[in-house]
Each structure stands twice: as C-alpha cells, then as structure tokens.
Symmetry: C2
Subunit: 321 residues, 2 copies
C-alpha cells in the first residue's frame, strides 16, 4: 500500500490530494496560498496541507508531485513565477519536501500536469496519443504519447497554443501575428468583438449601454446563445479559427484524440458545428475528421490528479533504475 500525493499550486489556492496507485482519490483538501506573503509562508502552508493529508489518510507516502503555474525550471525543481506568485522567483520547492518527507518529489507545469491527469483517469484514457488544448485566458497545449508527456528541446514543453493561424491577425506577445492564442483566447474574443462596428440595437450594445470596453467573451457567448445575430457571427469566426488551429495540430501530430478544456470551451456546444466543419474540409490527406474531440473530464482537479500521476511515474522510473 501507500499513496501518491498531488499538489496543485495556483495563484490563488493550493490544493493537495492523496491517490492510490489506481488513481482513486482517497482524500483532498485546499487552502488559499496567500502568495503575496512570500514563498516561505507558502511553503509552510503546503507543509500544513500535507500534514493534514497524512493525518487523514494514515498511509505511507510513496512520492509527491507538484503542478504549478509556470514559468518554472522542472529539472532544478524551482518555481520562477513573479507574475502570478509575487515574490516567487527561483524558489526551490522540491528540495525542502524531499528533505522533510524523504521521498521522490517532482515538479510539472500545471498545464502538463492537467494533461497527465486526463491521461491517467480522465478524457485521455484509451487514446494512444492525444493533444490537450486549453482555451481560456491563454491557450495551453500538451501532447501526450502513450501516457507520457512529449517534451521538446532541453526538456521544455512546446507552445502549441501559439501555432500560427492567420498572418494578418493581431500581434501577440509571442512575436507572431495571428497565432491561435491571439485569435481565440477569452481576451482575444473580447478584443475582436470590440473592434467590430456593433449593431445599435444588438445584444452587446444593449448589455453594455454602449460601453464596449465592458464586452468579454462570456457576454459574446451569452448573446449567441439567445440568438443575437452579430454574436453568432463572432462565435462562428472564433470557431473557424479554433478549427484552423486544430487542423495544423492534426497535420503535425495526427493524434487519436484532442481533449479540449478552459473557459472558452464551456461554450463548446456553440463552437462545435464550426470546428467540425473546418476539420471535415481538411480531411482529404489525413483523417482530420476522425480525430475524436473530447471535453476534459476532471475540471478543476485535473492539475492535482496529474501531479499525483507525475509523482507515480517518477517513483516507478526511480524504482526501476
């Protein structure tokens, strides 16, 4: 017996869960991380959370995994994220836990952890190769082959969310014009809607009293859902861009499945017809329309689940050496 602990460290909360080797959750708990109080307080918070998990489960810990918002240095086990974790610059989070608990501890980017979680017990189960695309504030990407994360040069993770879609599109901080993120992320949808000449009598004008800076992606989807024509057109355009991004992903990786998640994908029912139309149109060379499109299954817990899975994989790897 024994448990694998997964820790999901976000900008707001930290969450820890204990899993048995089959991926069944035994116990989980969460608490605010209060990142602004600095990494030392944060570590104490994590220790307390772990003590709680250990007390509740009463089982030996086999390994610990941490999924964290990036940037991070996976090899060195350091978090380098002054952006969403103020003050957390080059914070070694792995060594203290190794010293305290005497087990293998591993660190993953949170998007990668979420993909591992879906691969273990979620929407990735049964797919030899799948790509996970997270469309929310940004566009994340992970590529899982036979249950393992594909890693690029130097062990770094690819940035498929910035695959190019339209060179006449908006400028992105990644250096591109018209990368996927610049066209279909939540903020990109809002920005696109704000550039249009909006109908005086339409849903967006009505809801914002003409202050178009208030438009966000959610409002656009709400309008499309109640039949506002202009919102529906915007959604169709976004669906087409998502479809084109997926086509490039499929041309390069030909996965068995694509798992979609993120805030924008909560409106997948509105986007699906447009996405599928684009995939069908690009299915002459390769079976793009045969690639399964699944919604992620684990929701907010994916990162925690995947962190535990990363711990288990590292544990198995170390045990075999």
């Amino acid at each position: 017996m024994g448990i694998f602990i997964g820790i999901d460290l976000g900008g707001t909360n930290v969450r820890a869960g204990a899993f048995n080797p089959q991926g069944e959750l035994i116990y989980s708990t969460e608490t605010p991380i209060e990142a602004a109080r600095g990494p030392q307080v944060g570590l104490e918070t994590i220790y307390a959370l772990l003590e709680n998990v250990l007390k509740e489960t009463q089982q030996p810990v086999l390994a610990i995994g941490i999924g964290s918002t990036g940037p991070l240095d996976r090899e060195r086990g350091c978090i380098q994220n002054p952006f969403t974790l103020p003050g957390w610059e080059d914070v070694d989070i792995v060594s203290p836990l190794v010293q305290k608990y005497g087990v293998t501890v591993t660190l993953e980017n949170d998007a990668d952890a979420a993909a591992l979680g879906e691969a273990w017990i979620g929407a990735g189960v049964g797919a030899e190769r799948f790509v996970m695309v997270t469309i929310g504030t940004g566009v994340g990407f992970a590529f899982v082959i036979n249950g393992k994360l594909y890693r690029g040069m130097g062990g770094e993770h690819p940035e498929g969310g910035h695959v190019l879609v339209d060179p006449s599109g908006p400028v992105c901080y990644c250096g591109a014009r018209g990368c996927l993120e610049s066209l279909v992320s939540g903020p990109a949808i809002a920005a696109y809607a704000q550039t249009l000449v909006l109908n005086q009598t339409g849903f967006l004008t009505e809801q914002t009293n003409g202050d178009f800076s208030q438009i966000d992606a959610g409002l656009v989807f709400s309008g499309a859902r109640i039949g506002d024509e202009q919102c529906q057109e915007i959604v169709n355009t976004i669906a087409e861009y998502i479809g084109l991004g997926l086509v490039s992903i499929i041309m390069l990786t030909l996965p068995d499945r694509i798992v979609l998640t993120g805030g924008v994908i909560r409106s997948y029912d509105l986007l699906e017809p447009g996405i599928k139309r684009v995939l069908k149109q690009h299915s002459l060379m390769i079976p793009a329309d045969k690639v399964e499109l699944h919604l992620a299954a684990l929701g907010q817990t994916a990162g925690m689940v995947g962190a535990a899975r990363a711990a288990q994989m590292k544990f198995q790897e170390t045990s075999y050496e």
Copy 2:
C-alpha cells in the same frame, strides 16, 4: 556478421544497398523499375537486384527494408500507388520477399525512410528529436524521436507539409487554403511568380520571352542569384512562408533540429536569411532560433539507407520479443 538490405523503390529507378549493423554501406546497385510493365515484372527486377547484392556481398541477410513512394499500407505490406507506379494497386511486396528469403521484411513510406536514414548516419545523428522537411514538388514531413519515427493515429504518418500558413493563400488539393505546400513547393513558387505583374525588362521576362508559363522555381532562384530584384522579392516571400511554417512546426514539436531537403532547398543559401529572420522574430516564448537548421546529408541515397535502418529496427524488435 550479416547485412541489412535497403531497397528504395521510386517511380523511375529501384536501388538496393547492403549495410552492416553500423550503417556502413557495403555494396549498392540500381536499375530502372519500368513500373509501367506492371508489378510482376517489377518484382522480378527487385529479385534480380537482390541476387546481385547477395552475390557481391557474400553475407547472410538479416532483414530487408523497402522504402517506396506512397500511398502504401505499411501494416499489410502493400503498395497502393497507381499514380507514380502505374498498375501497382494493392501490390503485396512484403510477402513474396519473406517467402523467398525467409527473413523479416518491412515497408516504409519513402519520406519516412529518408528520415530514418538521416537519423541513422546522416544529418539527424545526435538530435534527440528532429523534424525532416522536404520541399520539392510537394512538401514532405517526418518527425523522429529518439531515432524512431513518430506515427499518428492508426500508425499513419502525419502530413506536416500541409500545416496551415495563410488562410488567404492558394487552394490546395488537401482541402486547405494556404497550407505550407501550397505556398512553397516548387510548383507553388512557379505559380506565384506567374501571378505577379512581371517587369518588362526583368530576368523572368527576358528568359521566357514573355511566355510566363515557362517560369519554374529554378528560374526564379537563378534570377535571384544574379541580382534580379523581382526574383529576389519572390524568394524573400517564399523564405518568409517557409519560416512561418517552421515556426508552427517548432511551436508544436520544439525539436532539437530541423533537417531540410528537396529541390527547393538546393537554393537554401538564398532562403536562409529570410527563414532565420522569421524564426528569430518568433523566439520569445520558446527558443525557436536555437533549433538547429541542417541540410540533409545523404542526398539521393537517404531512402535506401533508411530502408536498411527500418529493416534493422524491425529485426531488433522481433529478436527481442
């Protein structure tokens, strides 16, 4: 001791070579395939070629690999190519060789075989993961991870040459507008040049006596090389498109190296500045400008070399089982 035989079956010639386990060529020979005379004659030609190799090497054959122009059914060992091998529709090329020589025989797409060859003893050596992009009459793509071909859904190979680049670009038979192949293949370069309003006194007008249908990619590169301004502009545009295609490939696969080959790449010196400028511009999120760009090392023999390597890999796999 013993040898691995690689066979490269093209639309015009068939070539066979014997390699030792270290990838050293011991003997090779080639002959016209005369595909139009049908698959039975073709098989006899291949038998004769193999007999020649066996006689010259006087060593036991461990395994045979065939690289062939596609389409083909790798699992079933069948060539399905009535396009460049007239009459070769669903021709089982593996079973007859298995029966005749009593060894493992394996079949690969020729582009994949070429990538395996470069991975074994060519431009891919030392790269943990590399992508090979062939830009010629079409645009081919292969993705090699730790010396093995990455295969997509159902074992099929991805079609990264059709990654999308510009949705306002030309229509391609793949169903897309502005995929990489539709913009930078040899015929695409010619077609693009022909759509421009060409200078009355320029190189292209002069060389074709105004019959612009005679323009091909080679002529455009020749003009650029001697300083014709319009040809240089065309080459810069093509270089930018190649760069944008490589950016998407890098965003998704973050390889250590990209190996370039094909007829268009013979003019790589003219394209390189534009390609590198685009990669540099897209290096903020990931080190796109750190990805090594190499030219293929094996030339016309890559397919034969890689077919032998495929044979060796299959032999090792089977021996370990």
